[in-house]
């Protein structure tokens, strides 16, 4: 009898749930993701050389960049890898970095050796940033390392040359761990500069051992010193100058993780947000004279709402509520609060993690790379995070990624479980890039995971929504157009905003083409581009569902 009563109760509950769903109307059709990596033959696995001994940097491994290195119109992929420890050398091919050429048929060819990007002579590699620093039309690569950082110049023939030494970009204080970097043109002189996020000073010899109850764990970051992030000014002719001190970056010591680049105050100059691990976050506001003022306090993003510095990890700055101002999203570890901040008209940021439900949705996840991405092309940028615990202890240390779907720019709901089994794979996820690999107008995802092959998650692109991809080519501005701000107005008058950047998340670099989801709308009334040079270009009646290449006017 008791069993029957329980059963009846269950039915009532289910009926209630069904009514609730019905009251909200039918659920929209959502794309899902399928891992196409197994179709390709490549050796790369993210290898942090974990053999039981826990070296501090092992938690950060597997940077990823999406770039079209051979200009064939298809985005290719580059991955960074670890090193043998304590030797801190890529002693074995399993530690080599990896370049995968997109064949255009859903498979990738490993061309690392031919391209000269194995990185045999590098130490433990972390982040990567793609950008055409010499404006020759070919995307170059900067790789962050424990050990020397490396600038690879794209020769335009499928090969790269390590130009670090002659570029002057390799200099940094001894034993500093550089973990992420971003290309941007801070002085709008038409040449891409570079900001490098540094974590701490570390060598295998100074590595500390932390243990409890006989079990070693990864030490708390506070065991290690804070360091300055570094800014390199592009002088042209392949030369860079370290301007860390004169620019003001040298005054602030942190434990840098992800970097987000955006013009937060709308003055036409790019600003820099750096997520710091267990140290307050930095927001460097460009003073337009070659210097920056760290303004995290003024903008309300230095700490969370309780004045705590969490373990900020990845970072991205995009306009999630389509009000024309870039907002901010950083993730951190489980039990902390992922930060979503709304830009209040270029004056300061309002913390909206709670009101948008992000705090509740994210409480159980430890996020690494992240970003705003309109995965379903409905015109609202969603929140993606690659997740996995720091350590391999505890019952939920392997974690699935999350996608929080944007509901009308006001709040988010967790749709992670609805995006397919490959998306829900649990692991120690780290780097991630957003990229349209098959040029179908829907954003795909590439995610690395410790001790695993990366997942190359193809978006099913099957919900019928429309889109536009804009490939900006600067003339007076830097050739990539990084920093260009785009405003799209649909035929119905809906306005959408985005800007050109390759930097998002943590250790990662995404498709530089600017993506717009248009929902059901097929017609675009206008596309306005504010170039870093100051030029404003307006295109009228743009066709949807195309990759539009826009060249900056010469004058």
């Amino acid at each position: 009898m008791r069993r029957w009563l329980v059963f009846a109760g269950g039915w009532l509950l289910l009926s209630g749930w069904w009514l609730l769903v019905r009251a909200d109307g039918p659920e929209p059709k959502r794309p899902h993701f399928t891992d196409i990596a197994p179709k390709s033959n490549f050796a790369y696995r993210t290898d942090n050389n974990f053999t039981g001994r826990k070296y501090f940097p092992q938690t950060m491994c597997g940077g990823v960049a999406a770039l079209d290195f051979d200009n064939d119109g298809r985005m290719d992929l580059f991955f960074t890898n670890g090193a043998k420890l304590p030797e801190l050398e890529k002693t074995d091919p399993r530690f080599y970095n990896c370049l995968l050429r997109n064949r255009g048929d859903g498979t990738f060819e490993d061309v690392t050796a031919r391209a000269g990007l194995l990185g045999k002579d590098l130490g433990f590699s972390f982040g990567v940033a793609a950008g055409d620093y010499d404006n020759d039309g070919y995307e170059d690569l900067f790789v962050c390392n424990a050990g020397r950082n490396t600038l690879y110049h794209n020769n335009g023939d499928g090969t790269f040359t390590d130009v670090t030494e002659r570029s002057g970009i390799g200099g940094k204080p001894k034993d500093v761990l550089s973990v992420a970097a971003a290309w941007f043109d801070y002085d709008n002189d038409g040449k891409l500069d570079l900001i490098v996020s540094n974590y701490t000073v570390w060598t295998p010899q100074t590595d500390k051992i932390c243990a409890a109850n006989g079990q070693e764990y990864y030490c708390h970051p506070k065991v290690y010193a804070n360091v300055a992030h570094r800014l390199y000014h592009n002088l042209g002719n392949g030369r860079f100058e370290d301007v860390t001190e004169p620019s003001g970056f040298g005054k602030e010591l942190g434990k840098g993780m992800g970097i987000a680049i955006a013009d937060f105050n709308g003055d036409g100059f790019m600003d820099v947000f750096v997520a710091n691990d267990t140290v307050r976050n930095f927001l460097f506001i460009n003073q337009k004279d070659g210097t920056f003022k760290e303004s995290g306090y003024e903008w309300g993003v230095a700490y969370d709402e309780s004045g705590n510095a969490g373990s900020s990890m990845g970072a991205d700055a995009k306009d999630y509520d389509n009000d024309g101002w870039p907002d901010l999203f950083y993730n951190n570890l489980k039990g902390q609060i992922w930060g979503l901040y709304r830009n209040m008209g270029g004056k300061f940021m309002n913390y909206v993690s709670g009101a948008s439900r992000v705090s509740r949705l994210s409480a159980r996840s430890s996020g690494w790379s992240n970003g705003f991405v309109d995965y379903n092309n409905d015109g609202w940028k969603d929140l993606y995070s690659s997740n996995g615990d720091i350590d391999n202890m505890g019952e939920i240390s392997r974690q699935p990624d999350t996608m929080f779907e944007n509901v009308d720019g006001k709040e988010f709901r967790d749709v992670s479980a609805l995006l397919g089994a490959d998306f829900s794979h649990a692991g120690f996820q780290r780097g991630s890039a957003f990229v349209d690999l098959n040029n179908d107008g829907f954003e795909d995802l590439v995610v690395t995971s410790l001790d695993e092959k990366p997942r190359i998650l193809l978006n099913s692109a099957d919900n019928g929504n429309h889109w536009l991809l804009v490939n900006t080519i600067g003339r007076r501005s830097n050739r990539d157009g990084i920093g260009a701000a785009l405003k799209l107005t649909t035929a119905s008058g809906r306005t959408l905003y985005n800007h050109v950047t390759t930097s998002d998340g943590f250790m990662s670099s995404s498709d530089k083409r600017v993506h717009f989801g248009l929902g059901a709308e097929k017609a675009i009334a206008s596309l306005e581009i504010h170039w870093p040079s100051g030029l404003v270009q307006t295109l009228k009646k743009v066709r949807a569902d195309q990759i539009l290449t826009v060249k900056e006017p010469a004058k």
């Binding site: 709402e305 004045g307 039990g335 709670g354």
Partner: protein, 360 residues
């Protein structure tokens, strides 16, 4: 029973006192009797004090407190009254008010000291004043070490104060007398402090299984679940604690913080106000309230609270950091720059000490 009001007052009071010792139904009758008596003899401290006792016995603590207060206004140094008033506050989960009365009763009448010590230590533990609890209890350790109630209070104070080795010894002593919810809770707390979450969970869940009404057990479970990132389950645990004791400090504070995370500021403020009932002037809670004020556009109120907090605790780094943001919002840039520099200096010092300690 009918009282002859014209009898000698002493006789009447004795009769009422006997009546008040009877089961609850008679206690109500005694309360009525005392009230009638007090109508005729409003200055009788003894009657008012006994009315307070009767009200307290009936669970009507707020009324009891009012009567004790009136009696104390006539006889401010009466230690028995102070003790009774302290007990009423203690019963209503107001340890700060209780502690003040116990301290005074003990100072006025040393013979009450034995009665008061454990109560006062319990208040200190509730207020997070662990050092004061230890100072009270440590001299009694040898004499009372067989008393599990003493050990529980002493262990709580030691662990709260970070004296984990001594705390563990007390736990072992309790466990040597058999498994108990109290010992499990203490051990779970110790493991929670050591970030050994899985072991802590096992102990705290066992404590609740042994005694699901053990004060503080659900709150500790909530803290543990929060540390594990399981905020929904933590909410359930804190709510369970608040059913047992609506004024429990840890649960109110954490529920407030969780509501603030969700930007439900009305609810957050309600919880923080309850937390402040248990620990009036608690700087951590006032700091949270200031942040609620800042988030809800009351920057000037936030400024006042933060300035007061900094006046009391100049090394409160987070308060300096929040005050910097408040000043910037109020367009007081110079003040903002000053507070920012102070916050940074304090945090750098703390980080350096932390780095040093962790490295050791």
């Amino acid at each position: 029973m009918r009282i002859a009001w014209r009898s000698a007052p002493g006789v009447v009071l004795m009769a009422l006192a006997a009546w008040a010792q009877q089961p609850a139904g008679d206690v109500e009758a005694a309360i009525r009797g005392y009230r009638e008596y007090l109508a005729a003899h409003p200055d009788s401290v003894q009657a008012r004090s006994n009315l307070g006792v009767a009200l307290a016995r009936a669970g009507r603590y707020d009324e009891a407190i009012a009567e004790y207060d009136r009696a104390l206004s006539a006889s401010p140094d009466n230690p028995a009254l102070l003790l009774n008033l302290g007990l009423a506050y203690y019963k209503t989960g107001r340890p700060a008010e209780a502690a003040i009365r116990f301290e005074r009763a003990s100072a006025l009448a040393p013979q009450f000291k034995d009665q008061v010590t454990l109560l006062l230590a319990s208040c200190y533990n509730s207020l997070g004043k662990y050092k004061q609890a230890i100072a009270l209890l440590a001299p009694l350790e040898q004499a009372k070490s067989a008393d599990p109630a003493f050990d529980y209070l002493y262990g709580t104070a030691l662990i709260g104060d970070g004296q984990n080795g001594s705390g563990a010894a007390v736990i072992d002593r309790i466990l040597s007398q058999g498994d108990s919810a109290e010992a499990r809770l203490l051990r779970g707390t110790l493991k929670l402090r050591a970030h050994d979450y899985d072991a802590a969970l096992a102990d705290i869940e066992k404590a609740i299984a042994l005694n699901d009404k053990l004060p503080g057990a659900h709150a500790r479970l909530g803290e543990l679940l929060l540390a594990k990132g399981e905020s929904d389950r933590a909410r359930t645990a804190f709510s369970a604690e608040l059913v047992l004791d609506p004024d429990e400090f840890v649960s109110n504070l954490n529920m407030g913080v969780l509501a603030k995370r969700d930007q439900d500021y009305v609810e957050a403020r309600r919880y923080f106000e309850r937390a402040l009932r248990a620990r009036p002037n608690d700087p951590g809670v006032r700091y949270q309230v200031a942040n609620v004020d800042l988030a809800t556009g009351n920057a000037d109120q936030a400024r006042k609270t933060l300035e007061a907090l900094i006046g009391e605790s100049p090394d409160f780094a987070e308060a300096h950091a929040s005050l910097a943001t408040v000043y910037y919002r109020l367009d007081r840039r110079a003040d903002g720059d000053r507070e920012r520099a102070l916050a940074q200096k304090l945090m750098d010092q703390r980080d350096a000490a932390d780095t040093d300690a962790r490295a050791r």
